[in-house]
Assembly symmetry: C2
Homo-oligomer: 335 residues x 2
């Protein structure tokens, strides 16, 4: 280490000064000498060596189980990454994007941490049927789920999907709709999907409207799947005057399918989305939807993770953020 030479002190002293180690006695003059030498040489500590010595990588992983295709069409990713970066930058950490194969080993998640390039991780859209998660629970690896799993002991940050979905469907019911279709955001193995469908059913039952399973279908994240679901609903011949689409992204496809079938929105069919993606308000007609605080969700997840990484056990295991009904122009009153 040349800084030590230039400052005329030992490597130890350099390390102590530059890391501002507390409870150690170094004279102000020496501190200054070290700082000046480091500045002069443009010294940048080697993060890898630090990581090895301290056994902390100073990095967290954003772990996704989806395929690159699904990642590429994930509307929320930018907001989630934005939220994480907000927090991470303050804490001088790094952010790794990790993917895990759909048919991964039990050890898959653990490997990421055991290999020690991350200190903790945030798991996106966990799947109910993911056996590897159990291994994670048993370990003491700091982990935060974005999206809750009911029988999991892992920490999580989420909205109350069921209540939020109910709020959306209640709104349609208040407008006088009683034949309401439901397009879920994703296959039922992704936990948010059945929860939102449940909220849909809750609202119908509270209003004494019979649930018709034929009016429920499951999309697969992207607009295309929404297009296909909507066509299938229309082709089924079942009558409905409104659709609750549990994802704005999917709703984009649904709207296109309605237009293709010459159904006007909201005159013929009302549509309410979920998420409030940036385009929702700019689409035609502006989409009424449930706002999901995506960026806030990820920054909260990150804060929670940081606590776990410091060994602090947070007061609440499941952080639940509020959603909000955003009324725009895609739903109309039925007489």
């Amino acid at each position: 280490m040349d800084v030590a030479n230039l400052a005329g002190v030992s490597r130890t002293t350099v390390s102590l000064v530059l890391n501002n180690v507390e409870g150690i006695h170094i004279s102000p003059e020496t501190r200054l000498k070290v700082r000046e030498a480091a500045e002069k040489l443009g010294y940048i500590p080697n993060a890898t060596a630090q990581a090895l010595a301290t056994r902390r990588a100073r990095a967290i992983g954003l772990v996704m189980t989806r395929s690159p295709h699904h990642i590429a069409s994930d509307t929320f990713l930018p907001q989630i990454i934005g939220g994480l970066l907000d927090v991470i930058r303050e804490h001088k950490l790094r952010l790794l994007i990790e993917t895990v194969d759909a048919n991964h080993q039990d050890r898959a998640y653990l490997e990421l941490v055991r290999a020690k390039h991350i200190d903790g991780m945030i798991l996106l859209t966990p799947r109910i049927d993911d056996a590897a998660l159990t291994k994670l629970e048993e370990s003491d690896v700091p982990t935060v789920l974005m999206g809750k799993l009911d029988d999991s002991s892992l920490f999580s940050v989420d909205v109350d999907n069921r209540v939020a979905a109910k709020m959306a469907v209640n709104y349609l019911i208040q407008l006088g709709h009683c034949r309401i279709a439901c397009i879920a955001n994703a296959p039922p193995t992704y936990s948010a999907s059945p929860e939102r469908v449940q909220g849909y059913k809750d609202a119908l039952r509270d209003a004494n409207i019979e649930v018709d399973e034929d009016l429920i279908c499951y999309a697969d994240f992207d607009p295309q799947s929404g297009f296909e679901c909507t066509q299938a609903l229309l082709d089924s011949g079942k009558a409905f005057t409104a659709i609750f689409v549990a994802s704005d992204n999917v709703a984009m496809g649904a709207k296109a399918a309605l237009r293709a079938a010459d159904k006007r929105i909201p005159d013929d069919i009302s549509i309410i989305g979920f998420d409030d993606i940036p385009w929702a308000q700019y689409s035609d007609p502006p989409l009424t939807t449930i706002r999901l605080p995506a960026q806030k969700l990820s920054s909260e997840a990150c804060l929670l993770l940081l606590k776990l990484m410091r060994g602090i056990s947070p007061e609440q295991q499941h952080v639940v953020l509020d959603t909000e009904l955003v009324v725009r122009k895609s739903c109309r009153q039925v007489r």
Copy 2:
């Protein structure tokens, strides 16, 4: 290292076997013993220690200069990340997301690499006025730009923005439009922005249409800025029958502004976008646009970077991918 004990060999041998080091003689029986021992113990090499010993982090950085706000609203990020992950997974590398302050130090980029947590980097939407890039050029840090800078010696992957923009505007001209407004995707400091404006001007000049600077304005990446630009154009009182919007994302806002002003698309005003984001085809009317191969762009950038990291000097310094006019329903023929 317990694997060594269990297999009854030295740490060296374990390392040699597990890394499949070439040109070294180890008997098949020993190899098997080592592999079995490693398997039995669930041995996972420590990536940090490997990085320190080999002086390679086996990670690349996706570096962005934008603020978290802009990152959160970046339509392309998922596709770019998807493209990178595609390549990275095959090569067993990791992906770090890095941000650099807008008013950063000259050394900012170099620090990332000097700190040795990445071996190379991909720079997103570089700015013309970024002095730190010069430092990067002088260094031998493997770097690939996504988006070209004219006077930069750095490697780059991009489309020909000028030609692509010209193609878009030519299409409008062919349809009979001659009063064509232009909304650039971003402030002129981002290189793609002036290039696309230049393509717009090229097309007009070739058609002997006078360029009216009052019909050109600059948005700022997001729909909101497109909304405002379009309102300003409408308020200016200048006549135009078509708008070339150099970003689909911005075009979303532009369309909303046109609707707000009771202009029908394409009956009153034709609009052509740029990028072909996933929602373009699902918007109403489906947006005619220029397709930017975003995912391909980032996977090519990644492949190029991998070559640089291996010390291979690629045949071409600037990879230019093709764009394509995607005709949908947002432009109409003028008699």
